[in-house]
Symmetry: D2
Subunit: 170 residues, 4 copies
């Protein structure tokens, strides 16, 4: 929103957004992050720094992983941070990052279908994350299903395959 | 960003984002808006109202067209508005809408490659527009090339095929 | 190749070509066959009958499954048959069908990446299968990796993720 | 169909299959051939030689262009030839090549939607062409709309956007 934009720091941690299919294993695994490719297709000219932190399903993230993510956020010189992350424990990681958000806009984002699918929510979600990182006041956010959520006000409803406001869940 | 989100009004006016290829004419024309389809692929559950206003290349928009767009914005009951629009005269339409933005967040967005292409900036740009409509203070914005621009601070650099800050152009 | 083309019978049995991603399970499963959609995108006007026989990974096919496939081929009134099939045991099913190929052109085809991926070999492979079914003399064929193979002269090289001539494997 | 496959010679001449969108011109033009990319996505391991002859809409091809295509076919050492070509005058070029087809299998192929579209008939059509080049007896063929046509028995029905048998047109 400024004419000399602050760079956006993008940390990748894995999750469905980066899932590949490995025919030799007949299974899907998290591959090299597709982030740079998505930004290229989106013709992003905004300054960006991409750091691949890990390649994990978010159900496999442990305390050490979350400490690593928080460390990297704490070291960031900029105040606009996007983190790609599996959706299942996204809110848990977000809670870990809350103490770091006094002067930073931190956005967690993922996808419900792998970005390598012809029809994936990944590019739209990532676009939301980029805009939120630039425009929203300091805080921790999650951008999924077309909505910018405050991270502490949302839950993933696994059965519906969607993020919904906390109080809407029984 | 709230738990009972305001609906987003999406007005479509045409532009490259909606270009189809008509083999019988060996040419591209603007087709039925692909907006609903893009939101479906992005698994958007946020309340949205889509209104197709016109199907025009933005170089063909005249004063009457811009008056129609402004009228529809003025009638909107909600304050979050996304307008899909060709990129060549996007800033001109944005200027027309400035008087209506005191209490509305209006975001103009388009694409440099048709959304029907396998590799298009459309979904990412639209995601930025949706987030900006929800998060940004009242004003008129353009979300292209990975950046949320204030509409009066940006120009399209046709040769580079990108939106750039005004003062960066000689 | 004739002006009143014989219909092509397409039997779907599952395999990677039809794999979906189920976020609620964080895993991939074989879903509703995408065959009709692929033929629609390819603007196929050739008469086709599609029969979904099963939705299985080819490693899970047993003798009863292969008997069912053979039965359906034996009942076919036309002589041009395409079978979509997982790649791991494709040659085994092909061997089962050899006795039925005296007067039929039977083509087995699959994909190494799910057809729902943005970059999949599925449409190309399926195009090869359709042409082979129309043009090749009676026999059992496999159309993968850009080549029309006689089914008894090919093996899948799992490590390379490709079908190769039998004698090229040590 | 053999274990030591003859290479396939692919000549590209332009046409819708290779159309790009140039935003700076607000128009579509034929770009660098996408052939190599399509074969890579299709995981083709079959030996192929790709020669880009020209980048023209087939309505713009003149006698000199057709002479150039015929010359290149006449010089080919292999007997399996695929030619990508705009659809509007595909049958005219095919007629020019008929004298060269006594000992060659020549397949003309194109697309009704650009290959760069998310939904294009290009990969399927190209798969048909590759199989036909390998399997069909000498002659000139056109592989479009799911059918392998003899080139002298087909016409393009522009209104329907499809290739149909000659006698089916009034």
């Amino acid at each position: 929103m400024t004419t000399m934009p602050d760079p956006i720091l993008v940390l990748t941690t894995g999750g469905t957004i980066d899932k590949l299919y490995f025919d030799s294993l007949s299974e899907y695994r998290i591959g090299e992050s597709i982030l740079a490719r998505l930004l290229d297709v989106a013709r992003v000219t905004h300054p960006v720094e991409i750091v691949e932190l890990m390649r994990k399903d978010s159900l496999d993230l442990d305390d050490a992983d979350r400490a690593l993510i928080a460390d990297r956020v704490a070291q960031a010189t900029g105040r606009r941070i996007v983190i790609t992350h599996g959706t299942d424990t996204m809110t848990q990681t977000a809670a870990t990052l809350a103490p770091l958000a006094a002067a930073r806009t931190i956005v967690l984002v993922g996808a419900l279908a792998p970005a390598r699918f012809a029809e994936s929510d990944a590019p739209f979600n990532l676009g939301m994350a980029f805009a939120t990182a630039q425009v929203a006041p300091p805080g921790v956010y999650i951008t999924m299903n077309g909505t910018v959520f405050r991270a502490d006000e949302v839950v993933k409803d696994r059965a519906r395959g969607a993020f919904v406001p906390k109080e809407s869940v029984g």
